[in-house]
């Protein structure tokens, strides 16, 4: 199952995703996608280093689906995190699936 690493930026708590070149991006579409356990382990090792280097906090791997080859969130929680906002006046805007 394709997955990416997400975390909160230490200094301001903003949601970030591990992207190419060990850079943390706020846009999930730019995240590096792991397609195997080995690839994921490599990303996790990079995240651990970033946590030790006071870049991010609370890193974890999350499942994504690929849309046009780009990672997109699956759960309601991750859809809200990826949107970086809390106002969704339409109850169905965050799709149920």
């Amino acid at each position: 199952m394709p997955s990416v690493i997400t975390a909160n930026r230490l200094q301001d708590g903003v949601v970030v995703y591990l992207a190419a070149g060990n850079v943390w991006k706020t846009d999930l579409a730019e995240a590096l996608v792991a397609h195997s356990e080995t690839e994921l382990a490599r990303l996790e090792a990079d995240a651990e280093k970033a946590a030790a280097g006071q870049i991010i906090v609370g890193a974890y791997a999350m499942d994504v689906e690929l849309r046009d080859g780009k990672p997109a969130p699956k759960s309601v929680r991750e859809k809200i995190r990826a949107a970086h906002r809390q106002t969704f006046p339409d109850l169905t805007e965050i799709g149920l699936h």
């Binding site: 809390q86 006046p89 699936h97």
Partner: protein, 552 residues
């Protein structure tokens, strides 16, 4: 209001300096997140979905206008221009950067405020009646005792690492407006023999995944004994409360496991042992604190009844506001005014902008002796307004967009931040609250329905008090989708009760229809002006079940 002395100010400034150094060490890598987390939580700083959240203590919900203005300044400078009134009469800022927190704590200290004990397994902010010192039905101002409890519990060395968080509420009025029976310790000031006053003490109430209504611990505790008795209560809990299982760590679990009689006798034994240890407050110190809550001078302000009647007749919205947001004051020329932070087509319940904080602070200075209260239902109250000023106050609040006349009606919803912000949530609360508020936007219909407490929590931790809602809504995760379970018959008041689950949960988009059906069933079943709870008690859950699930 209680005024800080130099000792209080030095203490707050020291704590602020201490946390500044801890943040610096965290950012420099000298503290890991595991080391830092308990330190930040001791200063009310959480990490939520999108940002850090800082919860600021508002002791027993009482603010002065200077403090409210400063909260507005903090919202504008370091948040997105927003604050959020909480169900513990506090404020939280949901969009905070860690690097800014030391500055924010300094800004709070400037107005005698802080974020200490708004998190962690300690005694949290003591809550009270938002109408304290003003209510027509008051026996004694509970703020005196809430302040004494605040001082006793602040940095109490023995109770800084309790098995779990600990919440105390105190009320001094005939009507319980502080949900005392849903607290770890609930205290009601009661009259005793020969004009004396004392406390009726309740223990073991709470919401969360195992809700309980508190049980009576002591029918009449003399006022002078309050601190030693509570010290004994906390000590027995601290000793026997479970630390091995977070879900069984609250005092409610202990009291219900060993029984109220066994708990009471252990407390009694401990109390007899310690009550001579000078824990109780000396009479002169009590008098000093009491003096700080002497009521403001309220000059006689005759009302032009003719003008008021005319204005009410000409403006139905003002008339409605008068009916629902203006409450009886002990001085008949004055009133208690509720300012609603919920309205159709509008904000998340309890959200407040920086501008609004400033406008309310101005109104408090102009009309209400600079005093403001936060309610646990996530609104504000001006406790001392001359009735002669009500029209002018209404106009000022109208200009600020703060005149929804819906206090305690179906649109005055308590809602937790839910999955929009919270790391613990299973489902969103805010958009559900907004959708229901919009569904009942017609003020005439809301008024026809009458007083109805509708509460929403986004998870079983029940920060949105769904268990005590006449109608409660609980967000659950059902196979990765947001679903909502409905409860009926809860109450936060004197006849406190936990709501009963009606049946299987509903997807988000069905919830407004379901609430509509429940309300229609109530309206069809009620006789004359019977309340929702009275109708529910009389007809039972079945008619409501049938309305929302169809006949069996």
């Amino acid at each position: 209001m209680y005024r800080y002395d130099e000792f209080d100010r030095d203490f707050i400034r020291d704590r602020s300096r201490e946390f500044r150094a801890q943040v610096e060490r965290r950012l420099a890598g000298e503290l890991t997140e595991d080391e830092f987390k308990p330190l930040r939580l001791m200063n009310g700083l959480y990490l939520q979905l999108h940002a850090y959240m800082l919860r600021v203590a508002i002791p027993y919900g009482a603010l002065n206008s200077r403090q409210l203005r400063q909260l507005g300044y903090i919202a504008r400078r370091w948040d997105k221009g927003l604050g959020h009134w909480t169900t513990r009469q506090n404020i939280q800022f949901n969009w905070i950067k860690l690097v800014d927190v030391p500055e924010i704590l300094d800004a709070l200290a400037e107005v005698d405020m802080h974020a200490i004990q708004t998190s962690g397994n300690c005694i949290r902010n003591v809550t009270s009646d938002p109408y304290a010192g003003a209510a027509a039905d008051e026996i004694e101002d509970p703020r005196i005792w809430a302040e004494i409890l605040r001082q006793w519990s602040t940095n109490h060395p023995e109770f800084t690492f309790l098995p779990r968080k600990f919440k105390i509420a105190i009320t001094g009025a005939a009507e319980d407006r502080a949900a005392t029976l849903f607290h770890d310790i609930g205290i009601r000031i009661v009259g005793g023999p020969n004009g004396t006053k004392g406390f009726r003490i309740y223990v073991g109430g709470g919401q969360g995944r195992t809700p309980y209504v508190a049980q009576e611990m002591n029918a009449f505790l003399p006022q002078a004994d309050l601190l030693s008795y509570l010290e004994a209560m906390l000590r027995v809990y601290n000793l026997h409360g479970r630390r091995d299982n977070i879900y069984k760590a609250r005092i409610k679990i202990l009291v219900n496991a060993i029984g109220i009689d066994a708990y009471r006798s252990e407390v009694e034994e401990e109390w007899q042992r310690i009550r001579s240890e000078e824990i109780d407050l000396p009479a002169d110190e009590e008098a000093r604190i009491r003096a700080q809550f002497s009521p403001p001078e309220l000059p006689s302000r005759p009302i032009d009844s003719f003008m008021l009647t005319k204005t009410r007749a000409a403006d139905p919205a003002f008339d409605r506001w008068m009916r629902h947001n203006v409450m009886a004051h002990r001085n008949p020329e004055y009133a208690i005014v509720s300012i609603a932070f919920k309205e159709p087509g509008g904000r998340p319940p309890g959200d407040v902008t920086a501008d609004e904080m400033e406008r309310v602070a101005d109104a408090a200075d102009r009309y209400a002796h600079g005093e403001i209260r936060v309610t646990y239902t996530q609104n504000l109250v001006l406790p001392h307004v001359a009735r002669a000023d009500l029209v002018d106050l209404y106009e000022d609040l109208k200009a600020a967009g703060l005149v929804a006349g819906n206090t305690d009606l179906i649109t005055d919803i308590i809602a937790c931040p839910g999955l929009d912000y919270c790391n613990l949530a299973n489902a969103r609360s805010i958009p559900i609250a907004q959708a229901i508020t919009d569904r009942f936007a017609d003020p005439e219909r809301a008024e026809l329905i009458g007083q109805l407490r509708l509460n929403i929590s986004g998870c079983i931790n029940a920060c949105g008090h769904h268990h005590s809602g006449h109608i409660g809504i609980l967000g659950v995760d059902k196979k990765g989708t947001e679903h909502y379970q409905i409860t009926l018959g809860g109450s936060p008041s004197d006849e406190a009760a936990i709501g009963s689950i009606v049946g299987p949960s509903f997807p988000a988009e069905d919830v407004p229809d379901v609430i509509d059906k429940i309300v229609d069933t109530y309206l069809a079943q009620r006789s004359e002006d019977e309340s929702f709870l009275a109708t529910y008690a009389r007809v039972g859950i079945e008619p409501f079940k049938e309305a929302i699930y169809g006949p069996r």
